[in-house]
Amino acid sequence: MNSVKTLSLSCRNPNRRRLNRRQRTLVVVALAAAYLLLLLGGGLLLGEEGLSTNLTRRNMPPSLSYPLGTDWLGRDMLARTVQGLSLSFAVGLAAAGTSAFIALVLGLTSALGGKRLDTVITWLVDLFLAVPHLVLIILIAFVFGGGITGVIAGVTFTHWPALTRLLRAEVLQLRSAEFVLVSRRLGRSRWWVATRHLLPHLKPQFLVGLILLFPHAILHEAAVTFLGFGLSPHRPAIGVILSESMHYLSAGSWWLAFFPGLALLTMVRAFDVLGDNLRLLFNPRSAQE
């Protein structure tokens, strides 16, 4: 008898594994989104108190009153880390948003526009991908005078090519799909096909692509500020906190470097998880199982 698993044919029995998978995905998405909002909001809530120098509490290791310890000027590391993260979040938001917009515009025009336009845009994409990201960001940041605007411009101009290529490939494939050709022969205009046929397909791709753009943008922003670009004295970015902490490593205050980096890691990981699970919700087959 090869009755591996006898399955009762009625579908009403609540199968424990099904609820679990869907429930688990929704819970994860909610957690990731809540964590990110907490970070963004946290920057405003904690206010200035923690950031002011207070020489009485210098170099204190992590304790109950100061969970992430204090630095060489007595500033509470928790407040500084959260401020830094919310700045990185804002910069990531601006950079990822703009580059995603550029990618949408260029991706669509190169796929739907004429042959010449397509070759120019693909060549431009290759040009931007020809130079390593970080070197290009340094160049752009330097050109913009090294301030925070330089960092945002740098991160923005290096992240649009990958998403453009993805969107262009998707539109090219859709444009020659059978149902689009049929629609054209049924008398529908090019514009009608683009809005009614292509857009519904592009929306999930674009949204997931946008969310997965955040981690890269934030990591590069932190890297560039770590290297010394975009130094803004009043609002400390994560990169700045970490680069300053380097001087005190050998002095033994390890917590200055460890916790900010870990916080950045968790924030970036939250974006990754959010992006992946949303893709799973949109189209179960295409996501990594």
């Binding site: 591996v4 698993k5 998978r21 869907r22």
Partner: protein
Amino acid sequence: MKHQEAITPLLEVSDLSISFTQYTGGLRQKTIRAIVNLSVNVKPGEVLAIVGASGSGKSLLAHAIIGILPGNASVAGKMVYAGEPLTPARQAALRGREIALVPQSVNFLNPLMRVGAQVRSSALNGNDAAVQREIFTRYHLAAGTEQLFPFQLSGGMARRVLVATAAAGGAQLIIADEPTPGLHPAIVRETLAHLRELSTAGRAVMLITHDIIAALETADRIAVFYAGATVETAPVTDFRSEGELLRHPYSKALWQALPQNGFRPVPGCQPSLDDLSCGCLFAPRCPMASPHCLTAEPALRSLRGGEAKCHHAA
């Protein structure tokens, strides 16, 4: 055609059910039942054809017998091979040795591996290079073919190589899954002739196809597949003239709907896969349907040398 009833079947499948749990958008889960209480048997030295619409789950039967169903499939029912139950462990032992699959097209061959090497892997007894060359010459494949890659094979050559992989293993049960899609009629006839040769050599051949014409030319018995189950198994001689010798109303409808017979269709269409109600699945379209058919699912009973799954079949 030898008298078939006396020989005990090599493979006996009874009340086999296969269903899948699939995730749709928004991660809602759906259970799809591809095969529902299917019973069929294959005898050595015989070609049994399973005929049904393409994409209706027939090749799942082949995968269930060989034991290579995907992870999210759940199987119920009984399968007996050569008198003993076909447990997953036994399937693993028999796969490739006693039970062989002839797949549908050339992309079932490893694109980066020469064709000769792939056939050799299934030639288990004796020196595999010699067995492979002997098989290739028997199937009129030029000596150089073994060095070619799958993408270099023409339609006909690909078919012969695929049949060769099954024959090389010395398997007793050969399952051909849709071997004749969109091929030149000459190649189709040649492929079916090869399967015929294998059965006259004493092996059991199960031919799964949607092309009823090919089945009629080759098979000894034909099992008609409808909505996840075999509704009738009949010797090929019953398929003639008006189809009056046939038992199940659906096989009659199928025979009469053929262009060369009457081209007269029966209204309605196959029930979709996930809302199979109890009772006879052909009832809504069946001219002889009675209230009893709507409630009780008919059992497969033998009738005049064949089998039918219908309360009123005569």
